[in-house]
């Protein structure tokens, strides 16, 4: 009899956990790239540039931490005719309750956030594109993939 009463509760718990909110990544501040005075780097770290700030949250209070990865930095749009070879760099700092991490695309592109403490992670991301032959006039945009898994 007692088991019969627990069955609906058990089903409800399964449903609640399996539909719990997944890790979410939201861009709070879009990044802005600015040209360096030497004309060779277009970066959010340059004077006038703005880092992108992301809010990453995992609302299911499970025993799984989260792994956050920065990857696939690429030029998304350039002025017509721009074909100069470029190199890319990205760096980040992340903070959460009782912890922090920092790294770059070239080294430490991923970091782990412990369970429960991954409720809210603030990620500050910089993008840099370098062209030794400079950048021609026009609009540029880069994209970087941030994954929470």
């Amino acid at each position: 009899m007692q088991l019969m009463r627990l069955a609906p509760l058990a089903m409800a718990l399964i449903a609640a956990v399996s539909t719990a909110e997944a890790c979410t990544v939201a861009v709070a501040t879009p990044g802005i790239l600015a040209l360096a005075s030497n004309g060779q780097t277009l970066s959010s770290s340059n004077s006038g540039g703005v880092a992108s700030v992301l809010a990453i949250s995992d609302l299911d209070l499970d025993l799984n931490g989260r792994r956050i990865t920065v990857s696939n930095l690429r030029l998304d749009s350039t002025p017509a005719g721009f074909a100069a070879p470029v190199t890319y760099a990205a760096s980040y700092t992340a903070t959460w309750l009782l912890g922090s991490a920092s790294g770059s695309l070239a080294s430490n592109p991923s970091f782990n956030v412990p369970p429960v403490l991954d409720l809210v992670v603030t990620l500050t991301l910089h993008n840099t594109v370098t062209s030794t032959t400079g950048f021609r006039q026009g609009n540029y945009s880069t994209k970087t993939t941030v994954t929470c898994s």
Partner: protein, 151 residues
């Protein structure tokens, strides 16, 4: 209770769903170019007295510094005579310019000249100017100019 305990435990081990987001950065590059005259030129008279130029003897070409970002064009306007001594009648002279340095056009030209520059850190352009008059020049001070623009 045993059933409920098993259910809760299995639920806690369920991994959450991964999410990937593309973060966009945008930037605008505007062409800029700055030029500055660092050394005015000095013209000297040739031995035969018919040429007054910065390329003569100890004459000094004008030095201009240029910084360029993006794609720009540097233009040197047709040279003109600015001042001359009271006893000199202008009109018989020919004015010509040439340049070397970050770009080179060593042959003197009566016409304006121009060339393109891309990304350019602080660089120097040396501009020569000369006046030629088969009738020669009277004693006194002369000044001539060419206007440089970068756009």
């Amino acid at each position: 209770m045993r059933v409920a305990g098993v259910v809760v435990l299995s639920g806690l081990l369920l991994p959450g769903t991964a999410q990937a987001v593309d973060v966009t950065f945008t930037g605008l590059v505007v062409d800029t170019c700055t030029i500055a005259l660092t050394t005015p030129g000095v013209m000297l008279l040739s031995n035969d007295g018919t040429i007054l130029g910065s390329d003569q003897g100890l004459g000094v070409p004008a030095t201009v510094t240029v910084v360029s970002i993006g794609t720009n064009t540097i233009s040197l306007a047709e040279p003109t005579l600015l001042t001359y001594p009271a006893g000199y009648t202008p009109g018989g002279e020919t004015l010509e310019i040439a340049y070397t340095g970050l770009a080179s056009h060593p042959l003197f030209s009566e016409m304006g000249l121009s060339f393109n520059v891309g990304l350019l850190s602080l660089s120097e352009l040396f501009v020569d100017l000369k006046m030629t008059n088969p009738d020669g020049f009277v004693q006194g001070a002369y000044t001539a100019k060419t206007v440089l623009t970068c756009s």
